[in-house]
């Protein structure tokens, strides 16, 4: 028979409470699967300036491609570099042909500081094929609103002249059929992107993948 004196029971309860408290206190909300859009978005038509200084017709230039779109700014201390780095890292799972049919489009919400060379240089530090777009704040705000992305909020200037820009943190994903069905909030990990990417690009799953349900 297992003996369980009161002191041991009390200690167990205290330990369990402590563990539960520690586990609950996860204010950062790490993790985060895709969110299905109630109404899928068709690939939008808009033109902004690419980092080569030429007009970039989004619909024409990305048609038929798996396209990750996010709004952000290069001075962003947290969300933007993590999102872009994780997507870039996960793209390794794609084949050469799939990679050629995949792109990431980063639309700056801070055109004052994100000049075209700054945007190009920042994106190239993750992947030289990523597309950077820049336009007047009003145009970008209107575009973001049409995609249900929060408008940019400019914070107060610090003594050194720097400032933060609040912006929507989601990545909108247009699949090769030119329809966006899901968005990814902040918190998606590289392994999660890597698992989702073959499916998003339209790779036909193998028999084993169909049985196990994994990409």
């Amino acid at each position: 028979m297992i003996r369980c004196p009161a002191r041991a029971r009390r200690a167990t309860v205290i330990l369990a409470t402590f563990l539960a408290a520690c586990a609950r206190d996860d204010s950062r909300g790490v993790g985060g699967p895709a969110v299905t859009l109630p109404t899928p978005y068709p690939r939008p038509s808009f033109t902004l300036t690419g980092t080569d200084g030429q007009p970039f017709d989004f619909q024409a230039r990305t048609r038929g491609k798996l396209t990750f779109v996010l709004f952000g700014y290069t001075h962003c201390p947290d969300v933007c570099p993590v999102h872009v780095a994780n997507i870039a890292a996960a793209m390794r799972v794609l084949t050469f042909e799939e990679r050629a049919r995949t792109t990431l489009v980063f639309i700056t919400t801070d055109p004052d500081r994100d000049s075209l060379p700054v945007l190009r240089s920042w994106l190239a530090s993750f992947d030289s094929t990523f597309v950077g777009l820049r336009g007047p704040v009003e145009d970008v705000t209107r575009l973001a609103a049409s995609l249900q992305v929060a408008a940019a909020m400019f914070g107060a200037r610090n003594p050194d002249g720097s400032y933060e820009v609040g912006h929507g943190a989601q990545v909108i994903v247009w699949q090769p059929d030119d329809t966006a069905r899901v968005i990814y909030p902040f918190g998606v990990r590289q392994a999660e992107w890597a698992e989702a990417m073959p499916r998003l690009v339209g790779r036909t799953p193998t028999l084993i993948q169909r049985i196990t349900g994994k990409s």
Binding site: D25, S27, G31, P77, P81, G187, R189, Q190, A194
Partner: protein
């Protein structure tokens, strides 16, 4: 004000942050050590060894290494583990060895703390406990779940220190009641006692994707990618950890062979 370093999700700045909980723990350690060596003053070398142990704990837990390890870099977390669990405990025990022996032989063994240390400090128990602590505190669910709260981060650091002290206790503090635990047994104990720590290092080095969400999703504070960070963490665990353990084993081996040659 934060009591203990934990993952905050805020962008890193080099602005100094005070952690009173760390200072309180270091003050407690320093006070306890000073009391232990008050009557049985060790020689200057051993006294310095103990104070270096206290200083190591302070450096490992306080700003900037503490917050970096708590929420920004897995490599800093690995370095902190080595400092708190593998480096500081033997230094502290070496410095306080004379005082501990006196305390142990003058009634300390019969106190509650003495009974706990006597039970948990047995070589087999200590090795199992240390490896359990090492594995449990490196499981991604535990790191991601606990490091986001001050209490959880404190619990992990406290487990490392307590586990480290217990692990090094049979090596540093002489135990006449265990004549079988001589030079060869101690070498084997050290080797087997850190096998799982090597396993964790290999798991970090072999990964395709970052191991911990808190470091992968943390605001970047260096030019290092999350994958580079976890590989460096594995390298620190493997290379620096092995260097510490095998360094101690080498010293012990030569001391043991010298004693065996000159009985």
């Amino acid at each position: 004000m934060q009591f203990w370093c934990s993952a905050s999700g805020k962008a890193w700045t080099w602005a100094f942050t005070a952690y009173p909980g760390v200072w309180a723990l270091v003050a407690l350690l320093a006070f306890t050590y000073a009391r232990l060596v008050r009557h049985d003053a060790p020689d200057a070398r051993h006294r310095a060894t103990g104070w270096i142990g206290v200083l190591t704990i302070w450096l490992a837990l306080d700003w900037p290494l503490g917050p970096l390890a708590a929420g920004y870099l897995a490599s800093a977390h690995a370095l902190q583990f080595l400092l708190v669990a593998l480096i500081a405990p033997p230094l502290l025990l070496l410095g306080a060895r004379a005082g501990l022996v006196t305390w142990w032989t003058t009634g300390g063994e019969r106190t509650t703390l003495g009974r706990v240390v006597g039970t948990l400090g047995k070589p087999l128990v200590a090795a199992i406990l240390f490896n359990f602590v090492t594995i449990a505190t490196h499981v991604p669910a535990v790191v991601d779940g606990w490091m986001t709260s001050q209490l959880g981060a404190f619990a992990i650091d406290a487990c490392w220190l307590a586990g480290g002290l217990l692990f090094w206790w049979p090596i540093v503090v002489p135990a006449p009641e265990r004549p079988w635990f001589g030079g060869g047994a101690k070498l084997l104990y050290l080797f087997l006692g850190t096998v799982f720590h090597t396993g964790i290092a290999i798991a970090m080095l072999m990964r395709d994707y970052p191991m911990y969400a808190i470091y992968e999703l943390a605001p970047p504070m260096s030019g290092m990618s999350a994958m580079d960070d976890i590989k460096i963490a594995g390298g620190i665990m493997e290379l620096a950890g092995s260097a510490i353990v095998f360094g101690v084993m080498t010293v012990m081996f030569f001391r043991w062979s010298r004693e065996a040659g000159n009985p």
